[in-house]
Structure formats: C-alpha cells, structure tokens
C-alpha cells in the first residue's frame, strides 16, 4: 500500500493546453493540489470546468503540458507511453460512470485484466475472485456484465480498480448511471474501502450529494481551482444518513412486496 507519510499526489503549477486547429484551449491553469494518503475528496465543477482533464492527468491517461506531477514521490509528468501504462496499471484504479466493463467476458475475467497487463502470474484468478468478494459479489463472479444489475456492474468495476492495490481510486461520477439504492450501496463500498482499508478515493462529480459524502471538496471553474475546503462535519453526516435511509427504505419496500 501507500508509503508511510508523504502525499500520494502532489500537483504543482499544472497546466494543460489543447491545440484544436489554430485554437489554443487552456483546459487547466496553475493547478496546485496535494492529496494525502487515505483521503477521500471530491473534485467538483460544472461541465467544461476542466475536471475531466484534471482527472485524466491525475489518472495518467493524459499528460500536463506544464508543471510537475509527483505520484508517490515519482515524477510522472515526463514519463513515456509505456511507463505511463505501467503507472496506470499499478497505481491507479478507475471507476467510470458507464462502468466500462468488457461485455464479452465474465466479471472475474474483467477484474483479472489489470493483473494480466501487470504481468501477474499464477494466483490471478483467486486474487480477482477475492476482490469481487470484497465488494460483495462473491456469488456472481462468473456472470457476464449483461447478466448483472447496474449496481453490480459498478461493483465489478470497483473490484477491478482495487485488484492491483493502487495508490488511489479515481471515480468519475460513479453513481451517475445508478438508481438511488444502487448508488447508495456503491457509496458505502467506497466509504468502507476508505475507512477500513485506508484507500485514497477521489471523486470527480457535479453531484453535490456525492461531494458531501467526502471530507474535502475541491472546486474547479474555467480550468482553475476556485476553492479547496473541508466538508463540514454536519453536512457530511447528513449526506451519509440519507444514503443509509435509502438502503433501509428500499429494504422495507422490497420486503413488504415480497410478502
């Protein structure tokens, strides 16, 4: 897991300029952001604010055109394609709004993918199965994505993000495509991973409810950081209470209809 002490992520003066024909688009400007081990935070902003670009940079899918990015103390801002792929494989776990599972293969095979590309041998299948157990899908490891509900698919995606023990999980609108009950379950899994296993979780979202569940909220507008403050304890507890009741209410309703 993460090295003791020191920030997981340290962005200094990060800028990203896209060149679209003759047009220069400044997607990110002068971003300074430090994320400590075990944090749970949300990056919020309206569409076009640059939050997706920021997520791509943090997730090493894209590289900044300016500034320095230390991931676990390693400067990844100048790595080549292959080294970036390795970093994504080992240090980053992605959870996407639209799940992004491979449709033709089973849940456990999907979870195995990062292990295959990481060159893990031998115990791959059992590690993948354990990751699925950790998100409560131990019984459904041989189901294909289209045989699973939305919430279950997202949990498979979380298991895939977890399986290589990454430094950080990047979740891009993880509840955006889910009904409230499944969304609540997914959020509870993130909380457990963060609180019990100490995994750093970063949400990228424009949903205030999701953002309120975290401890720290970073706001972005027009490619710049506009605020970076802790979520008030009161607000956070209220958000979680809402999530708990969603689950309970749902259970009551379904139990009621079942009888």
């Amino acid at each position: 897991m993460a090295d003791g002490g020191g920030p997981v992520i340290e962005l200094t003066g990060i800028g990203k300029v896209y060149i679209l024909g003759k047009l220069k688009v400044r997607a990110l400007e002068e971003i300074d952001l430090t994320i400590e081990v075990g944090e749970m935070l949300a990056i919020m902003g309206p569409s076009g604010s640059g939050k997706s670009t920021l997520m791509n940079v943090i997730g090493c899918l894209d590289q900044a055109t300016k500034g320095r990015y230390l991931l676990r103390g390693i400067d990844v801002s100048r790595l080549n394609d292959n080294r970036l792929a390795e970093v994504r494989n080992r240090e980053i776990g992605f959870v996407f709004q639209s799940f992004n599972l491979l449709p033709r293969i089973t849940a456990v095979e999907n979870v195995e993918l990062p292990l295959i590309y990481g060159g893990a041998m031998g115990s791959r299948r059992s590690r993948a199965a354990r990751a699925l157990e950790a998100v409560g899908l131990g019984q459904r490891i041989h189901h294909k994505p289209n045989e699973l509900s939305g919430g279950e698919r997202q949990r498979v995606a979380i298991a895939r993000a977890l399986v290589n023990d990454p430094a950080i999980i990047l979740a891009d609108e993880p509840t955006g495509n889910l009904d409230s009950r499944s969304g609540a379950e997914v959020m509870k899994i993130f909380r457990r991973l963060n609180e019990e296993d100490g995994i750093t979780v970063v949400f990228v979202t424009h949903d205030p409810d999701t953002a309120s569940c975290t401890r720290r909220l970073v706001r972005l507008r027009d490619g710049r950081l506009t605020s970076d403050e802790p979520v008030p304890e009161e607000e956070r507890l209220q958000a979680w209470r809402a999530i708990e009741t969603t689950g309970v209410l749902h259970q009551v309703v379904t139990d009621g209809t079942a009888r």
């Binding site: 394609d81 292959n82 491979l102 993918l113 295959i116 590309y117």
Partner: protein, 413 residues
C-alpha cells in the same frame, strides 16, 4: 503480459463473432486451397510425364533429320532424306561406334488402315525386328515382324491393341488381311498396350517391315539414291556410356554426311534425359504459373483479413480504451490484434490445405494416370505463407489499434 494471454483474448474475440471470422477465413481457405490443389495436380502431371518418358528407356537415343531448329521438316513427305540405310549400317559397325548397341531404323508415316467396313487413319511404322527390344514394347499374341519379313518385303503387319480393337472388335485379327494404303497385309501379331500417352496414341500404331514401307508407303531416298529412313533409334551399350554413344553417333553421321568442320549437324540426337528435362521445364513453368495465380487469391484473402480487422478495431475502440486505462501497453494491444489476424490466416490456411488436398485427390481420380502429390514442403509453404499474410495484413490494423488515444477511445460510443 504473456503470449498465451494474447492468444486467449484473441480466441475469445474471434469466437464472439463466429460468422464473421468464418467468412474472413474463407478468403484464405480458398487461396491456400487453390495453391495446394494446383501445385499438387501440377506435380502429379509432371510425375506422369516423367514416368512415361522413363518407360522409354534411359539408354535410348533418337536420331532425327534436320537440326533442332527445323525439326520435323526433314522427313515425312517423301522428299530427300538426310538419314539413310548407309547411316544405319555405319552406326551398326562396332569399329565405328563401339558404345552403340542395337540400331533400329524407322519409317514413320500416316495411312488409311481398313478391315471390313472399318477404316481409320493411323500412324504406320516401317521397322526392323529389333524394334520391340529397343522401344520396350511387347507382343501380346502372334509374333512381331521377322528378319525374313524384312528381307522378303512381306506384306505383313503387327497392330497396336487399340487399332486392333477398332478394326476387329471382338474378332481375332491374326491371319486376317487389313488394307494399308489399299494394299492387303496379313496380321501376324498384336502388341500389348503401353497405356495412354500424353503425346501420341502409341497403342494405335501399325507396324510393317521397314523394307515394305520403304517400297510401298514412303519411298524416301538419300542424296545418292540409297533408301532413306525417318528416324533411327540407337541404344547405348549401357546407360553410363550414353554420352560416349552420343559423341560416336555424331562423329559417324557427320562423316557420313560429309559435314565440314564448323558446319552445323543436319541431324539431331535426342536422349530421354533431354526430353524429360524439356517436359520438366514446361510443367514446372505451368505449376509456377498456376501457383502464382493461386497466390494472388491468397493476397485477396489477406486484404479481406485486413478489412475485417480494421472494422474490428473501430468497433472495439472503447474496449481498447478500457484495456489501456487498466494498464495495457501499446505492445499489448498490438499483439492482441496481430494474434487475431494471424490466427484467422493460419487456421484458414490449415483448412485450405485440407480443402486443397481433397480437391487434388478428387481431381486425380477423374484424370487417368495422374496421382496428385501434396508434399510436406507444399504444406509447410502454404502454412508459412498464410501466417506471413496474417502478419503482413494484420500489422496495419494492429498498429492503428495500439496507437489509439485512451481518452478518446474511452469516450467513443
């Protein structure tokens, strides 16, 4: 990532689209099948030709009038013959030509041969009694032309099995009289069949004594009026001494024909090895040509694979994005798609080998005497070429897949 994982992934992707994979393979199957079938048949034909030529006997020499360049114009129509009986005598003298064994002169012409109401125009050969030994033919029943027949210019004849059947049907020809060029000849023998030849219907030949043919059928004359012949067959004493025999024949004939130093021969000596080589060349060229045409269909098959792989890359853009997001390198994506293309072409190639083999064997059953040969080399070549086709036509789509930008690929709908 190890190759085994790539193969497993490729297999899963191909099996997920069975009809498409099968149709893509079809191009290669047909291409390789054509290569195997055509080369197999070509080699079979070559084998047949070689076998027939070898049955002639490898120590046999043909001497024909004229140089190779004006072959076929020297004899035949009864004009001036450049090969004469005195040449035959000179070759038959062991002091002149110690390595020449049997010498057998021959008059070749065509004539109308008839019996009862049946009539046929066939090749008639005026020969010596030693003809069966030299030309490797056997008498089925009756006897061959004797020395007595030659000395007496008898009007007797020996029939090839086909002409005997054509003229007599189920009747026994021996003792009957057939008309050759209007003159009646007594049938004294019938030969055994030599089998269908690619060049001439030897089983329909009719044989008469040389002297009779010289008088009645083809009165060839040499320069000084002596009797001429169309062809002289010469056997070398042994197979090993065939080159010496050729030299002796040339020396004797040049002396006989008064050919000065530096002048060209007015005759041609051909041995069986030459003919085999010539036909080997012809069938070789034919096989190569057919192989090349089949090769083109293989290229077309390869283009089919490339086409489908490009479609597949576009369709699976999102999959590629996902794989890259979880840590696939360019080389991993590249390998995966390349393995898919090579798998298609190699499996197609193997199926094509089976198909081509079947076609060659079936075709061989239809054509008498041709045994198709599918050699391990051909199979290996076909497999190698189809794998190469897969790599060659798969590399571009695979590169395209590998160089996709993961962010754009993930956003692709």
């Amino acid at each position: 990532m190890v190759l085994l994982d790539s193969i497993r992934m490729a297999l899963a992707a191909l099996l997920g689209n069975k009809l498409r994979s099968a149709l893509t393979m079809l191009g290669i199957i047909i291409g390789v099948g054509a290569v195997i079938a055509l080369i197999g048949l070509g080699e079979g034909v070559q084998g047949l030709v070689t076998d027939q030529l070898q049955s002639i006997g490898s120590n046999l020499l043909y001497i024909t009038p004229g140089s190779l360049s004006d072959m076929g114009t020297g004899g035949g129509s009864g004009g001036r013959a450049s090969l004469t009986m005195s040449d035959v005598e000179a070759l038959n003298n062991p002091f002149n030509a110690p390595h020449v064994g049997a010498v057998s002169p021959d008059i070749n012409t065509f004539a109308e041969v008839s019996f009862g109401g049946n009539s046929k125009r066939v090749a008639v050969n005026g020969v010596w009694p030693n003809y069966p030994a030299v030309r490797n033919v056997t008498v089925a029943y009756g006897a061959f032309i004797s020395q007595q027949d030659v000395s007496a210019r008898s009007t007797v004849c020996v029939l090839g099995p086909n002409i005997a059947r054509d003229l007599f049907g189920d009747e026994v020809p021996l003792g009957n009289r057939v008309r050759i060029g209007g003159v009646p000849y007594t049938v004294v023998g019938v030969l055994e069949g030599k089998g269908g030849s690619a060049f001439a219907d030897v089983d329909s030949y009719v044989y008469v004594p040389l002297s009779t043919a010289q008088m009645r059928l083809l009165p060839l004359r040499g320069r000084s009026g002596e009797l001429g012949v169309s062809t002289i067959y010469v056997q070398a004493t042994t197979e090993a001494e065939i080159d010496l025999a050729i030299e002796e024949v040339k020396t004797v004939l040049r002396y006989q024909h008064r050919i000065g130093i530096g002048e060209d021969d007015d005759f041609t000596v051909i041995n069986q090895a030459d003919i085999t080589a010539i036909f080997g060349n012809i069938t070789g060229v034919l096989t190569t040509f057919l192989g090349a045409i089949a090769g083109i269909s293989l290229i077309v098959g390869g283009i089919g694979i490339m086409n489908i792989m490009l479609v597949s890359v576009t369709e699976r853009t999102r999959e590629i994005g996902i794989r890259k997001a979880v840590g696939a390198k360019r080389s991993d994506i590249m390998t995966q798609f390349l393995v898919e293309a090579v798998f298609l072409s190699v499996v197609g190639g193997l199926a094509g080998i089976v198909l081509g083999w079947t076609v060659a064997v079936q075709a061989g059953n239809l054509i008498e005497g041709v045994t198709p040969k599918v050699t391990p080399e051909t199979v290996l070549l076909a497999t190698g070429v189809s794998a190469a086709v897969g790599v060659f036509f798969g590399i571009y789509p695979a590169r395209r897949a590998a160089s996709l930008n993961p962010i754009e690929a993930l956003r692709y709908e």
